[in-house]
């Protein structure tokens, strides 16, 4: 046999028609084996029937309970004449959003930003008068909302600028904007137009977002410190962290909210200047931080031991090993769990209804229960609230997936 026998490679043939196109797809996904075929045949008519009922209901649904008082879903019982204050807060968000898109340029950042801009445009131009001649959106409110678009563009410009477009400025600006927003909402005694508004009147989606942002921004660093404390060699720090984590994870959030409103004041002086919203925000933050700590600890645990050893062998100090080598890898590995925690935190902000706050869900419920004409419109309300929550959580989830694939560079 000659060693140098030349073999001609077989030319590639197109796959059989049953493996590609919609036939191939259906075969692989719907009629894979007899069980899946059976399921497909049984479930398909049920889905069609369900969709039919849903669509028929959508045409008869009465959305008046939402369209007649949009303001209450957005800012709760916040006084109308002071609505410019939360609206200014929205402008701050737009500025930062645009800046973020300018700093982290790329297809997904643009897509999310365009969706955000379109959303502002639609809300600003919505012809409310067509449905409810009695509900007028004041011209200055429309103006405020539409101004979001140029502000978004200005933020983008800042983000693209070489000097201002830095992540550090973005974080600093975010913190400053948040504090400014809280100041705007609560007011400054003695300043005309900035009369104090009791946190009891904050409500609607604004309350959900305020609580969620506070929780997200603070629970992450607190959770990180707790995770590091739990792994540290200092027995006292470790004990404190383990105790904190286990207590806050082991008690339902509702119970913690009650404790913070009912029991904690007993332990404080009567005029202690912490209002119920702040107390709820702190409770939610600490609760979330306990979970965050365990997520991050999981990420640290999953790193190969050699990573820390290699960093030590190079002479890096302990805190450098942690901050430059271990944490960045650990956090990247648990982004899905961290964002999951953020999403669940955002949804949990609804629970503040049990301490008498009117978040978007409770605001709606009180509208349904307080007006005889809406008594049958519960379905519309819950569907509306569900869609609003979903819009926000899906955006978070989308951004996290993009960050994951972006950071996945070079990972085997």
């Amino acid at each position: 046999m000659s060693a140098a026998e030349v073999r001609r490679p077989a030319p590639p043939l197109p796959p059989p028609i049953t493996e590609t196109g919609w036939i191939g797809w259906a075969k692989a996904n719907l009629f894979n084996n007899w069980l899946s075929s059976l399921l497909t045949i049984v479930v398909t008519p049920l889905v069609i029937l369900g969709l039919w009922f849903l669509i028929r209901w959508l045409f008869t649904a009465d959305w008046t309970l939402i369209t007649s008082r949009p303001q209450q879903y957005v800012i709760g019982l916040y006084p109308t004449e002071h609505a410019w204050r939360p609206l200014t807060g929205w402008l701050l968000v737009s500025l930062l959003w645009g800046m973020g898109a300018g700093i982290w340029r790329g297809g997904s950042a643009y897509r999310v930003t365009i969706a955000y801009g379109l959303f502002s445009l639609v809300v600003g131009l919505l012809p409310y008068g067509l449905f409810h001649p009695d509900v007028v959106m004041p011209w200055w409110v429309r103006l405020f909302i539409l101004v979001n678009l140029p502000v978004l563009a200005a933020g983008f410009g800042l983000g693209c600028n070489r000097i201002t477009g830095r992540a550090g400025w973005f974080v600093l600006g975010g913190l400053a904007a948040y504090l400014l927003f809280l100041l705007l909402l609560s007011g400054l005694p003695g300043v005309p137009g900035m009369e104090q508004v009791s946190p009891r009147q904050w409500g609607g989606l604004m309350l959900n977002l305020t609580l969620a942002l506070f929780g997200i921004v603070l629970s992450f660093p607190i959770g990180m410190l707790l995770a590091l404390g739990r792994r540290s060699g200092l027995p006292v720090a470790k004990l404190l962290c383990v105790g904190f984590i286990e207590i806050f994870r082991g008690v339902p959030l509702i119970t913690l909210l009650f404790v913070s409103q009912v029991l904690v004041p007993l332990a404080l002086p009567e005029d202690f200047p912490v209002n119920p919203v702040t107390r709820a925000a702190i409770t939610i933050t600490l609760f979330s931080a306990a979970y965050m700590a365990e997520n991050i600890r999981g990420g640290l645990q999953g790193l190969p031991r050699g990573q820390g050893e290699a960093a030590q062998a190079l002479g890096l100090a302990g805190w450098q090993v942690t901050s430059l080598i271990l944490l960045p890898q650990a956090i990247r590995n648990v982004i899905p769990a961290i964002v999951g925690q953020f999403i669940s935190l955002f949804k949990d902000t609804s629970l503040v209804y049990i301490i008498g706050m009117l978040d978007i869900l409770e605001m709606g419920r009180s509208i349904v229960q307080g007006n005889v004409e809406f008594i049958d419109n519960g379905r519309e309300l819950f569907l509306f609230v569900a869609v609003v929550f979903w819009m926000f959580t899906y955006t978070m989830s989308y951004i996290s997936r993009r960050i994951e694939s972006h950071l996945g560079v070079g990972v085997r």
Binding site: P304, G306, Q307, E309, A310, A311, Q312, A313, L314, G315, L316, A317, Q320, L324, I325, P328, Q329, R332, L407, V409, G410, V411, R412
Partner: protein, 254 residues
């Protein structure tokens, strides 16, 4: 054994001096009285069966493992619980691991410049120029901007060597640097190590590459059950081993 005693008596030229070093993992006695010293510029290859304590031993030299009895002095600094000494020793001792342990979230360039920049406070531009030179030296300057996950095993190990060299160490420790590599990649790593050995670097290498040991080593030290059983120049080590255990070990792996 007069020759062994000569090797162990510390002189001014000794950069590493170990005296009766003991190490326990729980109740397991991993190092049982190791005494040896290494001169400046000497290349010492450490061999021995697995579990004999050879890796543990070189890991005590930069204190990745703590010894519990005895004395280790590296370049005049004794390793104890004194953190300042540990940091100072780690700055002078580079280490290369079996599993590379490159930082996967940083580029090759950043892997190399990180420690000089953060520990030695070398300005970044200067550190990058030095890193580029090192990458030339290990033969992969074109990989500077890639991430470790995009390189082959042999390339990763060469980056790991460059990373350790970037701190301009006086001593290099190699802990089975080729054991995780495919045969064709072992050669490229050994070449870099040979070049390093010829450049007057003090090297302690745990390896099963007897070819490298024969060519590049000044001494071959064999560990068994936590003790040094043989310590000779390569020629004597292979041709007149003093210890029966060496003969058995060589017959097992050759």
């Amino acid at each position: 054994m007069t020759t062994q005693d000569e090797t162990h008596s510390p002189t001014a030229d000794d950069i590493i001096v170990c005296n009766d070093v003991h190490k326990w993992y729980g109740s397991f006695h991993a190092l049982r009285g190791v005494s040896t010293s290494v001169r400046r510029g000497e290349v010492v290859v450490i061999i021995g069966p697995s579990g004999s304590g050879k890796s543990t031993f070189i890991r005590t030299i930069n204190r990745l493992e703590q010894h519990q009895r005895g004395q280790i002095v590296v370049d005049g600094l004794e390793l104890s619980n004194d953190v300042r000494n540990i940091d100072a020793v780690r700055r002078e001792v580079g280490m290369v691991f079996q599993s590379f342990n490159l930082f996967p979230h940083l580029t090759v360039m950043r892997n190399i410049t990180l420690a000089p920049n953060k520990v030695r406070r070398t300005p970044l531009a200067e550190a990058e120029a030095a890193a580029m030179e090192l990458l030339e030296r290990v033969g992969i300057p074109e990989q500077a901007d890639k991430y470790p996950g995009e390189l082959s095993g042999g390339q990763q190990q060469r980056v790991a060597i460059a990373r350790a060299l970037a701190m301009q160490p006086k001593i290099m420790l190699f802990d089975e640097p080729t054991s995780a590599l495919d045969p064709e990649m072992i050669k490229e790593v050994l070449e870099v190590m040979r070049e390093l050995a010829a450049s007057n670097m003090t090297i302690l290498a745990v390896t099963h590459e007897l070819g490298f040991a024969r060519e590049a080593a000044d001494r071959i030290v064999m560990f068994d059950e936590g003790q040094i059983v043989e310590d000779q120049p390569p020629d004597d080590f292979f041709n007149n081993p003093r210890h029966e255990r060496v003969v058995r070990f060589l017959s097992q792996i050759l």
